[in-house]
Amino acid sequence: MANKNTSRHLPGDPEVHHIIPYKFHIGIWVGLIILTVMTVLVSVMGISLVAFSVITALIIASAKAVVVANYFMHLKYENKLITWLMGVTMLLFVVFIAFTAFDYITR
């Protein structure tokens, strides 16, 4: 392990703090809005495909969440550790649901 004190960068150091341009943020936002419109459309039009629409809705929602986390929340530019830990948290959450659902599905 390296001496941690050296890895602790100076506050407000522009080298370290990745500044995301305004335009880029706005682009992300447009993307999110498009995804929102898509879910609504899929849901309202895909009436006959109930199961399909749940899954698509969740996939789109997850995509939106990933975009928000990565860009708005700067996760992409943070220490990779946080991304990993986020992954572990999500894994646990999925396991909680999956194991519980497994009980209900196999009854």
């Binding site: 392990m1 001496n3 941690k4 004190n5 602790r8 550790l81 948290t89 646990l92 396991v95 909680f96 194991f99 519980t100 497994f102 009980d103 209900y104 599905i105 196999t106 009854r107």
Partner: protein, 537 residues
């Protein structure tokens, strides 16, 4: 006042007055605040345990009626779990020693730390309020199983809110420790140079952080159900009681590792110190803490083998339960191997550690018995389970707590305890403990269900033995407490390193100064337990 003193001001002397304590952000003071609060609750819950044993000394009514008994065991369980064992080691020893052991002067967020203590106190007050308002303390068992917990007229709402608040206190402690360990290790203190106690706290903190929110929201749902009369878990209104059990155990199984992992960390500190040699298998012990924390999330269903869960789910949970036993076994083997070719100094903390290993073995191995499907069907909700968990929680975690109390007594209060008296107290506790709980295992195999106010004649003899055991245990605990209080007044003054320990807390004066150190601590080159490098002591 601020001239350079030869002996720096220790954290007790730094400031005086009640407010300088209850609003302190010094991790040592917060640790001690926790200690006093925790030990008070512990005494209350012990007294309740004692009353339960009195009631159970003979069939029929002895000293209280059925409803009171039910309230007593619920309060006993709630206090012991949420107010004693979950916070005990992390919030007291962890707060006090984690920053010192990794060579820094406080936790990452001192104010948040103080807030956790206040939340703890608030939760404690809620729990105690159930005693005085309305229809008395909850009578549901600490598991608050629906739908009974929705129907009963006792103060379930208040008790559940208490547990909710205590959960947040626990989350904040865990959060603080994780950030502290990541960010504040002393220069040169790499991950594998940390004392094993910090590793244990690190693994625990992740359970506190990621499991506790689930119980929080579940308990809120119980409150909502009681207040609005909606049927989240009550089948009369369309809910499913088994879903409640899933949610409850998703947290509460990992929670049992919140109780025992830090205690295991304590054992990993005490054994090398008194064996005067390095720990055997440092990495194996560190990794097994993480493994227990991780696999521990996936086994909750073993509390529900008879609940009507599906057959395949039972099988999967059973097999995972068995796997989580392996890392515990690895730890036990490494501890015993650490004694090999040591130069062993049998002081009281070592005796507690040995008792821990013996009793944790009984607790853990009985855990295997109830982890198997066939046997758990027979033993679920019998006294065998009660025996199992008192062996791991009290015989394991509790004894480790008392051992560490002796181990760090000189460091915290700056005085030596009376070794001879403490050994007598230990012996009484050890004998009393085993007489109290071993009979419960046999009772369980004979088929006596738990949470029974009254029982059949056949079970009398073993219950009497158990109750008498509780008296011996009382004698031991009281003697221990008296000894420690007296030693604090009249004991010899402790040096920096009375046991010849190798971790950083022994490099600072006893008690430590306000900022923990009076000189930059020297992080040992090799393993944190290298006695050879540290001969000077």
């Amino acid at each position: 006042m601020s001239e350079a003193l030869s002996q720096p001001v220790n954290f007790f002397q730094a400031k005086k007055g009640l407010f300088s304590w209850i609003f302190s952000t010094d991790h040592k003071r917060i640790g001690l605040l926790y200690f006093y609060a925790i030990i008070s609750f512990f005494l209350v819950a012990m007294a309740l345990g004692f009353l339960m044993r009195l009631e159970l000394i003979a069939p029929g009514e002895t000293i209280m009626d059925a409803k009171t008994y039910n309230q007593v065991f619920t309060l006993h369980g709630v206090i012991m779990i949420f107010l004693f064992l979950i916070p005990s080691v992390p919030a007291f020893f962890g707060n006090f020693f984690l920053p010192i052991m990794i060579g820094t002067d406080d936790v990452a967020f001192p104010k948040v730390n103080l807030m956790s203590w206040w939340l703890y106190v608030l939760g404690g007050i809620f729990a105690l309020l159930t005693l005085v308002v309305g229809d008395g303390p909850a009578d549901t068992g600490w598991t608050f199983y629906a739908p009974y917990s929705v129907k009963t007229g006792t103060n379930v709402t208040l008790a559940v809110l208490a547990a909710f608040i205590l959960g947040f206190s626990s989350i904040l402690t865990g959060l603080n420790f994780i950030v502290t360990i990541h960010r504040l290790r002393a220069p040169g203190m790499g991950w594998f140079k940390m004392p094993l106690f910090s590793w244990a706290l690190y693994a625990t903190a992740w359970i506190q952080l990621l499991a506790t929110p689930i119980i929080g929201i579940t308990l809120l749902m119980i409150v909502a159900e009681r207040v609005f009369g909606v049927g989240l878990f009550d089948p009369a209104l369309g809910g499913d009681p088994i879903l409640y059990q899933h949610l409850f155990w998703i947290y509460s199984h990992p929670a049992v590792y919140i109780m025992v992992l830090p205690a295991m960390g304590l054992i990993s500190e005490m054994i090398p110190t008194f064996a005067k040699r390095t720990i055997f298998g440092y990495k194996a012990i560190a990794y097994s803490s993480l493994a227990i924390a991780f696999i521990g999330y996936f086994v909750w269903g073993h509390h529900m083998f008879t609940s009507g869960m599906s057959g395949p789910a039972r099988v999967i949970f059973s097999i995972l339960t068995f796997l989580v036993a392996v890392p515990s076994a690895i730890k036990v083997f490494n501890w015993v191997a650490t004694l090999y070719k040591g130069s062993i100094d049998v002081k009281t903390p070592l005796l507690y550690s040995m008792a821990f290993i013996f009793q944790f073995l009984i607790g853990g191995l009985t855990g295997l018995v109830i982890g198997a499907l066939a046997t758990d069907i027979h033993l679920h909700d019998t006294y065998f389970v009660v025996g199992h968990f008192h062996y791991v929680m009290f015989g394991g975690a509790g004894f480790a707590f008392f051992g560490a109390l002796h181990y760090w007594f000189p460091k915290i209060w700056g005085k030596m305890y009376n070794e001879r008296v403490s050994k007598i107290a230990f012996t009484l506790m050890f004998i009393g403990f085993n007489f109290l709980y071993f009979p419960m295992l046999i009772l369980g195999i004979m088929g006596m269900p738990r949470r029974y106010y009254d029982y059949l004649e056949d079970f009398t003899t073993l219950n009497v033995i158990s109750t008498v055991g509780s008296w011996v245990l009382i004698a031991g605990i009281l003697l221990m407490i008296i000894n420690l209080i007296r030693s604090n007044k009249t004991g010899e003054v402790a040096t920096r390193n009375p046991w010849g320990g190798t971790t950083l807390e022994w490099q600072t004066p006893s008690p430590p100064p306000v900022h923990n150190f009076d000189a930059t601590p020297v992080v040992p080159e090799g393993s944190p337990y290298d006695h050879k490098m540290n001969k000077t002591g």
